[in-house]
């Protein structure tokens, strides 16, 4: 994934309406009219948001002229979530170990009575 592609995804996700649309689509594909219902927005405004999501590859739309059902395509979203999820997990596990390390270091300090000598 290029950084430009990622920027497109991030930009698409930066808007709360578009995130709400995606959250709605997770429960299944639906029509534009149905999607527009919970938002106080005109159909053209919703269509604009859908175009941004479509360009980012986050949703796909059916080809039927009248009823163009929208569905979520999780690929780019998963890529975005991945680095955050990955690093959240990485650091959380590392910090558990850091916590143990700090506990041990303080125990040793007390035991040997070196006090601040162990601290830079």
């Amino acid at each position: 994934m290029t950084s430009d592609h990622l920027s497109t995804t991030f930009a698409a996700l930066a808007d709360p309406t578009r995130r709400a649309i995606l959250a709605r689509l997770i429960s299944g594909e639906t029509s534009v009219t149905e999607l527009a219902e919970p938002f106080e927005m005109s159909l053209p405004a919703i269509s604009k948001h859908l175009k941004v999501l479509e360009r980012a590859g986050l949703i796909a739309r059916g080809r039927e002229a009248q009823w163009r059902p929208c569905r979520i395509t999780a690929g780019p979203l998963r890529d975005v979530a991945d680095w955050v999820a990955h690093y959240r997990r990485f650091w959380t596990e590392s910090f558990d170990r850091l916590d143990d390390y700090l506990r041990e270091a303080q125990k040793k300090e007390k035991k040997h009575g070196h006090g601040k000598n162990h601290v830079k």
Binding site: T2, S3, I26, F95, L102
Partner: protein, 158 residues
């Protein structure tokens, strides 16, 4: 214990807050002394065969993490700021097997005294990313699959 984690919308930032029951100087040392860092800077089940830190602005970071299956995940980085004992800023770049950069993160860690304990806040964001990045994450996270429910949760938190 993780007390806070949020991801801002525009910057896609990872923020992790944690309070350690230890003096700030000790926590800072644990972040900057290579011998200390090697003991904790890695995922569960990993070891650090290489851990070299030149803890000064412009100084290099070189850490190799070896997974339980023997695969080595090297990373390099550069310190941007080292302000003892309150703040460290560094870039980090995980490398693939050929030594090419996958993506680059900017990480800021701050340490504040909080009633005899130390409140640490880590912020990280991607500043560069390449095509191999997704593959790398997939490898390191083997066995970890993300369902649509997980995606729904992520979206709800954003």
């Amino acid at each position: 214990m993780v007390t806070g984690k949020t991801m801002s919308n525009e910057e896609q930032e990872l923020v992790l807050t944690r309070v350690f029951d230890a003096p700030r100087e000790l926590v800072f040392k644990a972040w900057t002394d290579p011998k200390c860092v090697a003991q904790w800077w890695r995922p569960r089940g990993f070891t650090n065969p290489v851990c070299e830190l030149d803890e000064q602005p412009g100084g290099a970071i070189r850490i190799h993490m070896r997974g339980p299956d023997g695969t080595v995940y090297p990373m390099t980085g550069v310190y941007q700021e080292v302000v003892e004992p309150e703040r460290i800023v560094f870039t980090s770049t995980p490398l693939d097997a050929e030594g090419s950069a996958l993506f680059e993160l900017l990480t800021t860690v701050t340490f504040a005294v909080q009633g005899g304990k130390t409140k640490q806040i880590l912020r990280a964001r991607v500043i560069k990313r390449t095509a191999q990045a997704a593959q790398y994450l997939k490898g390191m996270e083997a066995g970890w699959t993300q369902s649509l429910e997980h995606l729904a949760e992520s979206l709800a938190k954003m």
